[in-house]
């Protein structure tokens, strides 16, 4: 059933076995696992079916350094479906090394084994509509896949490591009908959770408070509560819920909001191949089920260990778009389309630097001088992207000059100084806004610099191409657009003990017997991978845990004994 809080009488007390707050990737994936079971599920969502600026504005907050991090209400959507309504769909599992305790990275190591999450990747892949869970170019397509750079082999990089693409699937549009058909699930839209209220002992959530923008006020009671509001909103609600816990729920050890990670990313370098350009391929291929797959250059775990750096991947990329010197009509056409492109996508595509009139005219000239090639590209784009459901993932233009840049996506190490906290100001519902103080470290930059240096050496040793870049520019290039948007990681990290983490290995908040967290907030490390596939896998794992806790044997053994263990 899909309901709205707008028409709910103020003062209503809602009741369910499981109450999930936030209907994005995590919340919807979790709720679906209980469809048509005997457990009643209440899925609380702030947004409506369509975007609404007034609701989106509840995400506003302050950013300490606006050059380093986008505004708090960007790169996340407060709407049914959450940020999956605008995501790019890139799916990549974490690597085993991301879970290891790495002596050279402070605060690394997950309290759970990689296999405990990996077991959920196939089902997560299916929910994300990213096809078979095979991320190895040698087997994934069922047919040989084109090499990225024919003849180039390096012991430092794995070029068989794939990324796969979701449609990109909007979880509300795709699964809303299942939620609405399920008798035991109730989705409540337009309901904002504004406080988590614990009992007097502080070891159990008694209820949560919900408010609507039109002044409605409700309570939701449940046996289990799961916060799935995204990596920035989860620390906000935990910190703001300070009625019983003065420092905020789960914050006894000052960990909530700290260790905030995004990714270190940017484009850099000038790659020139001397091998024939047919031997270089940076585009996509379709797996049998239509899923777009693409190779990357992934720094091997052995190299990471040997050189004591973090995890990182690189992709061959088109030359910088804003510079009309590329003389490519298509790239210039995309440049000229800038006013049509949303903030989130424009930011990385164009970068922050303004373009003068002269360069603008050179872009126009590029387009008009290659009308046929440009028109063909646009027609293809319309068919394979605009009109398609499974969308062609990104702009791929084979270089006529056999020249590319590198697109880098690297792990950020966990750093307690990088943090989200509460600001002085409040939103219209009375909740303190967030203040984002994202930081990066020299170690983050070193990971990228090391990878670039190795690739440069490896190209030189091979002889079929060269990589040129300015070592002193690495940091600036990686920070040109600031922290990678949309990946909000680590703000309620998982730990072995309450001293180490906000949640335990089951994603349960330490010290509270019925409060759980779903989403990238619990990831102790950030990997090279985009987070959503792992968010969904972890949500499925959490569903299994909850099912197990609810199992008949548990009840037979005495609910109270179990619940307060």
């Amino acid at each position: 059933m899909i309901d709205t809080a707008k028409t709910l009488p103020s003062g209503t007390i809602l009741d369910a076995d499981i109450c999930i707050v936030g209907a994005g990737a995590a919340g919807i994936a979790l709720a679906l696992q209980f469809a048509d079971t005997d457990k009643t599920v209440l899925l609380i969502e702030s947004g409506d079916v369509a975007e609404n600026p007034e609701i989106q504005a509840l995400y506003e907050g302050s950013v300490v350094d606006p050059a380093l991090h986008s505004p708090a209400d960007r790169y996340r959507q407060r709407v049914f479906g959450g940020t999956t309504t605008i995501w790019g769909g890139r799916c990549i599992p974490f690597d085993p090394i991301d879970f290891d305790l790495r002596a050279w990275i402070d605060n690394s190591g997950w309290p759970i084994e990689y296999a405990e999450v990996a077991g959920y990747y196939p089902a997560a892949n299916a929910l994300c509509e990213a096809g078979d869970c095979d991320y190895d170019a040698r087997s994934a397509l069922g047919a040989p896949m084109r090499p990225m750079i024919e003849g180039f082999h390096s012991s430092h990089f794995n070029a068989d490591s794939l990324e796969r693409f979701s449609c990109p699937t909007n979880f509300a549009a795709r699964y809303g009908h299942r939620l609405s058909a399920s008798r035991n699930i109730r989705v409540l839209l337009n309901a904002n959770c504004t406080e988590i209220v614990a009992n007097n002992r502080g070891d159990h959530v008694d209820h949560i408070i919900l408010r609507t923008l039109s002044g409605g006020h409700f309570e939701a009671r449940a046996r289990k509560f799961i916060l799935a509001m995204g990596g920035l909103e989860i620390p906000r609600i935990l910190l703001a819920s300070n009625r019983v816990h003065p420092r905020g729920i789960g914050n006894g050890h000052d960990l909530v909001g700290r260790y905030y990670m995004c990714h270190i990313a940017g484009t850099i370098g000038d790659v020139r191949f001397s091998v024939p350009k047919e031997q270089v391929w940076h585009g996509y291929e379709n797996a049998w089920d239509g899923v777009y797959c693409r190779r990357r250059l992934a720094l091997t775990p052995e190299t990471q260990r040997a050189l004591q750096v973090g995890n990182v991947v690189m992709r061959l990329h088109h030359p910088r778009l804003v510079d009309p010197g590329h003389q490519t009509g298509i790239l210039s056409a995309i440049y000229l389309a800038k006013p049509l492109i949303s903030y989130e996508y424009a930011k990385r595509l164009y970068g922050p630097d303004p373009v003068g009139l002269g360069d603008y005219l050179r872009h126009v000239l590029n387009v008009v001088s290659q009308p046929i090639r440009t028109a063909r590209f646009l027609a293809d784009w319309a068919w394979r992207r605009t009109l398609a459901v499974r969308k062609f993932p990104s702009i791929i233009i084979a270089s006529t000059a056999n020249r590319y840049s590198l697109d880098v996506h690297a792990e950020q190490i966990p750093n307690p100084e990088s943090r989200v906290s509460l600001a002085e100001t409040r939103d219209p519902l009375g909740l303190p806004r967030i203040a984002i103080d994202w930081r990066y470290t020299a170690a983050d930059i070193d990971t990228v610099a090391t990878a670039l240096r190795l690739l440069k050496q490896d190209f030189a040793a091979w002889g079929g191409g060269t990589l040129e870049y300015d070592e002193d520019e690495v940091e600036a290039a990686m920070l040109r657009e600031g922290a990678y948007g949309g990946h909000h990681i680590g703000t309620a990290r998982m730990g072995r003990t309450a001293e180490e983490g906000v949640v335990d290995r089951d994603c349960r908040v330490f010290g509270i017997d019925n409060l759980y967290i779903a989403g990238s907030a619990v990831f102790p490390t950030s990997s090279q991978a985009n987070p959503t596939l792992t968010i969904v896998a972890m949500a499925l794992r959490l569903a299994d845990h909850l099912r197990h806790r609810f199992a008949p044997s548990t009840i037979a053994a005495g609910v109270t004994a179990q619940e307060h263990e």
């Binding site: 795709r174 009908h177 299942r178 797996a287 049998w288 089920d289 239509g290 009109l387 459901v389 499974r390």
Partner: protein, 325 residues
């Protein structure tokens, strides 16, 4: 055992006739309107038969012990056959009739549906006719006719126009593929060989009176899973995700003219003319429909077997490629 198969030239009728003939211990009479089309083992007796003709049918069953009714046709043909069969059976030594009904009798029921589920309003003429046929046989049961009514779900496999040939052509033309949300309905399917095994078991099921069985796969997946697996086996890859606008265009705009063209072709007997099958509104409804036809009861039919979907699809794809590509 002497068996008359009515509708023996059809897709299921011919498969049953072949299976019966292969047993060696059965005398098989293949009743069909057009004997010219038959190609059976020489042991099979071919009988020209219009089951709507009362006297003709009475003569055809006068000396057999068992009848399999596989008649497909207009509503009047199907109900007429049942009525004639019930009437003729009274004055014959007939021991058992096995008749093919359909899961269509459940109409638009949702959720888990088995033989104990009451029938709701039939959703089309075909379903209404099948309900009527069942009623006639149940009535006849009161007068001593023992019949086994089988309600198969979608029958696929070698020879199936609807669920193998038509679907394969649409997959190859990329008119079907991964349907996303539109393909999340339950794919209740039965391989033709499995249905034949149920029919044979029905002939020999001990007991009297009338009994009804759903014949379907035990744990059905989604239509998407079926479409994608079949496309893969046909080599119709990469499978395309079909946007809902395309399905709607195909189903709403293209379907009516295609249907009219097919009818014209059949009227004018232009057999050589190829006209694409329409994606009908009822097909689209089916692909999204959430219903599972429970068939546990069919396990009582001794020789009934269930071919795993992957295996069934593989043989369907192989047969299709041999005959159509």
């Amino acid at each position: 055992m002497r068996v008359l198969v009515i509708g023996a030239s059809g897709f299921i009728g011919s498969a049953v006739t072949r299976a019966l003939a292969a047993r060696g211990d059965v005398q098989v009479r293949a009743g069909m309107r057009n004997p010219g089309r038959a190609s059976f083992d020489s042991s099979v007796e071919i009988r020209q038969l219009d089951s709507n003709d009362k006297t003709m049918l009475a003569a055809a069953i006068s000396d057999v012990t068992h009848v399999v009714d596989c008649v497909m046709g207009s509503a009047a043909t199907m109900t007429g056959t049942s009525a004639n069969l019930a009437a003729a059976a009274r004055s014959s030594g007939l021991r058992r009739v096995v008749t093919l009904s359909s899961c269509a009798v459940y109409g638009s029921a949702q959720g888990y549906v088995d033989e104990a589920t009451p029938l709701c309003e039939p959703s089309d003429d075909y379903a209404a006719a099948k309900v009527e046929c069942e009623r006639i046989l149940l009535d006849a049961g009161g007068h001593g006719l023992s019949s086994v009514i089988l309600r198969p779900s979608c029958v696929y496999g070698p020879g199936s126009q609807q669920w193998t040939v038509r679907i394969a052509k649409m997959l190859i033309a990329r008119r079907l593929g991964d349907l996303g949300q539109a393909g999340e309905g339950t794919a209740n399917l039965v391989a033709v060989d499995d249905l034949v095994s149920a029919i044979l078991a029905g002939l020999e099921l001990p007991g009297e009176g009338t009994d009804i069985f759903n014949i379907s796969n035990a744990s059905p997946g989604t239509w998407n899973a079926y479409l994608m697996a079949f496309a893969r086996m046909l080599g119709a890859i990469p499978v395309r995700r079909i946007p809902s606008w395309q399905l709607r265009l195909d189903g709403k705009l293209a379907a009516p003219p295609l249907k009219v063209a097919q009818i014209l072709r059949d009227r004018l007997k232009l057999t050589g003319v190829q006209i694409a099958d329409p994606i009908t509104p009822s097909m689209l409804r089916l692909f999204a429909h959430q219903v599972q036809f429970g068939s546990h009861k069919a396990d009582r039919l001794s020789s009934f077997h269930r071919t795993p979907l992957q295996e069934g699809l593989a043989s369907a794809a192989l047969w299709f490629k041999e005959h159509f590509v």
